[in-house]
Symmetry: C2
Subunit: 135 residues, 2 copies
């Protein structure tokens, strides 16, 4: 039996991933400092989490320097997609439509955001008749 990869990061892991996406490749110290702005967190706690995340494959570690540098292994949108798919199957019976509707009503969206969604929607509808046209 091989190592089982949980696919889904835990809450604490996701918190760290968000720092790495935002700040780019960082040392343990840097991550700890950013996290420290919002809550108390010990240095070795962050270190341990990053070590585990390395094992799980969520982050990559550059050990060429004494101070190791960590970076997210996957792009933010890729993991976001995965989390959406996960929620989709766990809570929405696979109905993306229901999820979209819930998300739309979950938060008040700006005119710009609505327009952006509209354009994606148009693209999806358009794909049914004509191929991708970007002229």
């Amino acid at each position: 039996m091989a190592k089982r990869t949980p696919a889904r990061p835990t809450d604490a892991e996701l918190e760290i991933l968000r720092v790495l996406w935002q700040e780019g490749p960082s040392s343990v110290r840097q991550v700890q400092e950013v996290l420290g702005r919002s809550r108390e967190v010990g240095y070795t706690t962050v270190l341990k989490l990053l070590q585990i995340m390395t094992e799980k494959g969520f982050v990559l570690r550059d050990e060429s320097q004494r101070t190791h540098i960590y970076r997210a292994r996957h792009r933010q949108d890729k993991l976001q997609r995965q989390l959406v798919m996960d929620l989709l199957s766990r809570a929405f019976g696979g109905s993306a439509e229901k999820l979209v509707v819930q998300a739309l009503s979950a938060k008040k969206l700006s005119r710009e955001e609505l327009a952006e969604i509209q354009s994606v929607l148009d693209e999806l509808s358009g794909d049914r008749q004509e191929p991708d046209d970007e002229s």
Copy 2:
């Protein structure tokens, strides 16, 4: 200190909630049988989970009969909304737009589903000028 309510059901709990939403109020035996279709699960496992979920407030228990009957405490769409909000803040920095776009591209949607989303979108856009008009 009051009991802390986790707000978010665990995976196993969510699985049971889905059964209750689908089947309506059910006994432990009934829940176990439905779950048993997709995977092995012991009777007392389901029982224990339902007991815990009762404590946490995710389900309500009717003890008037010898065989207790459980039902979901909250409507499915209400909990779905909560889970969406949770994912929103944990993984999307609160950007509902990003989440919607991801969900839209996560799965191929039928023409009907796209139309449904469009109508919700129209409503949201419309709300900016005129009030809800349904005549």
